[in-house]
């Protein structure tokens, strides 16, 4: 199993990846900036969005019960799952009861999180990914590398090659429009013939029992209207009190993700088709999934449950922009992934994620619900320290530093010695190779300290 550093090194050496990341995140940054500038009260709207989510998380039990009652009244069957496995088992059972041979999926990161594609494959149920990016990664047999653009890591040339290999009537030329057209043709029939449609939910509305999906392509609607059965898999934190609250968050979501005021299609699904309605599924199911969220709420990560999955944090993260999404090794990448992955998959295997961060704070700045990501990452570092997961070299180094700074005399002495030592290994004003500090000097020079000693010593001499 590769380590984070191995994956990051691999990503850093991948020139194609870098081009792909720059093209997509560069556009995303620019578009978001325009959208935010055009919304003068955006900061106040952010604070309100955070307050709404905090209110829901603080009263999550009551809101889940309200949602269950409203959804049931609308004809939806509501299921509850503690774990990823339980959730997949429920979905497979519903599919089996419906004698489903294939399901059409619209994009759901939660589905990725619980391992639904794998569970469907194990159960021998065909899976048609209708979201264009999900289709691309299905063909490539990869996992998503971004929560809004799952195929961000692919250049157009790589997509073109995939489509030529797999599509029945591949595109001509190298235009992106032609590739999208090819996917449209290739997916249409399978999408419309699926027995079951599975979606996530951007929001679950407590007072109406509706599940809300947000897409640009219309693939959710095409895959959730024709089948006999519609299954929604959603994390329990997706609840909002009312349609009005969903509207406020929807305003924040599209602007933060793509810079649009709204995505092209915002759909509210409340139950199976009504008597007399012409199309729509006969059954609708919502699977409410915990998978660690109640624990997060209790263990200092309640603010992370505000997340509305916009992707702004990773689009602006200097680390993500260098290593891409796969290096993070989990379902979710970037800053939000660095907070979530230790919670979902354990800290021991993922202690690099909160550490591979400069704490620059841009992620929190662009988060539409003001999640204190650097603080939460520092929280993981503290847990890692308490549990003794930090490498010995780091612990000894910090412990030695702590001891030195506890004594002003020792501090002044060691500082002066350090300055002199650095001067002896240098030539001219710079140090280009320094034993024990290879991490620095491998890539850049170190300016040497000047003659004359430390500031504290010089100041003391001048003032005498």
């Amino acid at each position: 199993m590769s380590s984070f550093t191995d994956r990051a090194d691999g990503a850093l050496a991948d020139r194609q990846l870098k081009i792909a990341i720059e093209r997509t995140t560069g556009t995303a940054q620019a578009k978001r900036a325009v959208a935010v500038a055009a919304f003068p009260d955006f900061e106040a709207a952010r604070a309100r969005a955070a307050a709404i989510k905090d209110h829901v998380v603080a009263n999550l039990g009551a809101y889940l019960e309200q949602f269950e009652a409203s959804a049931t009244a609308a004809g939806t069957q509501v299921h509850w799952a503690r774990t990823a496995d339980e959730a997949c088992a429920i979905v497979i059972d519903i599919c089996r009861a419906a004698e489903a041979r294939s399901v059409a999926r619209s994009k759901s990161m939660l589905g990725e999180e619980i391992g639904l594609p794998h569970a469907l494959a194990e159960a021998g149920i065909g899976r048609v990914e209708t979201d264009l990016a999900e289709h691309i990664i299905q063909l490539a047999d990869e996992r998503p590398s971004h929560i809004v653009w799952p195929a961000l890591h692919k250049t157009r040339e790589q997509v073109s090659e995939l489509f030529r290999r797999h599509h029945r009537t591949p595109h001509e030329g190298e235009e992106i429009a032609a590739m999208a057209e090819s996917a449209r043709r290739h997916l249409r029939e399978a999408m419309l013939a699926a027995d079951v449609g599975i979606s996530g939910a951007n929001f679950l509305i407590a007072d109406t029992g509706a599940a809300v999906t947000v897409t640009n392509e219309g693939n959710a609607e095409l895959s959730l209207v024709p089948p006999r059965v519609h299954i929604v898999t959603a994390g329990i934190e997706k609840i909002v009190p009312s349609t009005g609250h969903a509207i406020h968050l929807l305003r924040m979501l599209a602007r933060s993700a793509t810079g649009a005021a709204l995505t092209q299609y915002t759909s509210f699904f409340a139950g199976p088709r009504r008597a007399g309605e012409i199309d729509g599924p006969q059954e609708m199911h919502v699977v409410l999934i915990d998978n660690g969220r109640t624990r997060m709420r209790e263990e200092g990560l309640a603010e992370m449950l505000r997340c509305i999955r916009c992707g702004a944090c990773m689009n602006h993260c200097v680390v993500f922009r260098q290593i891409g999404g796969h290096a993070y090794g989990g379902t979710y990448p970037g800053p939000m992934g660095a907070v979530l992955t230790p919670a979902l998959d354990g800290l021991t295997a993922n202690r690099d994620l909160p550490n591979a961060c400069t704490m620059n704070g841009k992620c929190q700045e662009v988060c539409p619900v003001d999640i204190p990501l650097p603080t939460l990452l520092r929280g993981w570092r503290e847990k890692s320290w308490r549990e003794g997961l930090e490498p010995t070299a780091t612990r000894s180094g910090i412990n030695a530093w702590n001891r030195m700074i506890a004594s002003p005399r020792l501090y002044r002495l060691m500082s002066a010695m350090g300055a002199r030592a650095l001067r002896t290994v240098s030539r001219g004003g710079w140090i280009s190779r320094l034993p024990l500090a290879g991490g620095w000097t491998r890539h850049r020079d170190l300016p040497r300290p000047p003659a004359g000693g430390t500031f504290l010593d010089q100041w003391a001499k001048r003032r005498r």
Binding site: T24, T27, A38, F39, P40, D41, A45, R48, I52, H55, A58, L60, Q66, A73, W80, E86, A133, I136, W149, A151, L152, R156, I176, A177, M179, E181, R184, R185, R188, E189, T208, N216, E217, G218, N219, E221, L222, V225, P241, S242, G244, I247, H248, L250, R251, A261, L262, Y265, T266, G271, P272, R273, R274, G276, E277, I278, G280, D290, T294, R295
Partner: protein
């Protein structure tokens, strides 16, 4: 213990707010919420200005009454070089019009073709049109067609998303806000129209 019991137990707090208090707090959190600036002062102008944005990419036409709808449809299809035929939902308001110039299709083809829908509301803030499923309105044709035509009465235009009337219970199975044409930026973040849904949106404003 069932999963439901386990989850609710894990979420139980010592002080359970009663439903009324919770609703009050939720309402307070929303009151006076921030809105983006509108594209124009009048609701109609703002709505039409949004439709014309490249990101939405919709064309529009204005007619005085529902009677003129078939002419507006014929005009649009001719202008697009498309044959004079489309899918119409089984809505009595449409049945009352004279469709002799346009062929009414019983279904929309799996890909291509044109379909008309009648919106229940439209929103100036975003240029969105609101479609509900009903006994007189299927949803699928709106996503299968290449050319999506939506008729909306001017009286049903509202300023903000919050102003769209919520359906009275039991409500439709599906409500969709349509804000422009289907598109995707999944390949290199570059925008392409007509990803799965319609590539063209034409709004006919009535009244």
């Amino acid at each position: 213990m069932s999963a439901r019991e386990a989850i609710l137990r894990a979420l139980a707090s010592p002080i359970q707010a009663d439903a009324a208090a919770l609703a009050r707090e939720a309402a307070m959190l929303l009151a006076g919420n921030e809105r983006p600036p509108l594209a124009a002062e009048s609701v109609t102008e703002a709505f039409l200005a949004n439709l014309s944005l490249p990101s939405i990419g919709a064309t529009h036409d204005r007619i005085a009454s529902m009677e003129q709808l078939p002419d507006a449809v014929a005009r649009y299809l001719a202008g697009q070089g498309e044959p004079a035929r489309l899918y119409l939902p089984p809505d009595p308001r449409l049945d009352a019009c004279d469709w002799s110039a346009v062929e009414r299709l019983p279904t929309v083809p799996m890909d291509g073709g044109a379909a008309l829908a009648i919106a229940v509301a439209a929103v100036a803030e975003t240029g969105s049109l609101v479609l509900d499923t009903a006994t007189t309105a299927p949803m699928l044709p709106n996503f299968l067609a290449l050319h999506h035509l939506i008729a909306i009465e001017r009286a049903r235009l509202v300023r903000w998303l919050e102003d769209v009337p919520l359906p009275s219970p039991p409500g439709p199975r599906q409500r969709t806000w349509v804000t422009g044409v289907s598109g995707t930026t999944d390949i290199e973040g570059q925008y392409v129209r007509g990803a799965h849904g319609p590539r063209f949106l034409h709004v006919v404003l009535i009244g």
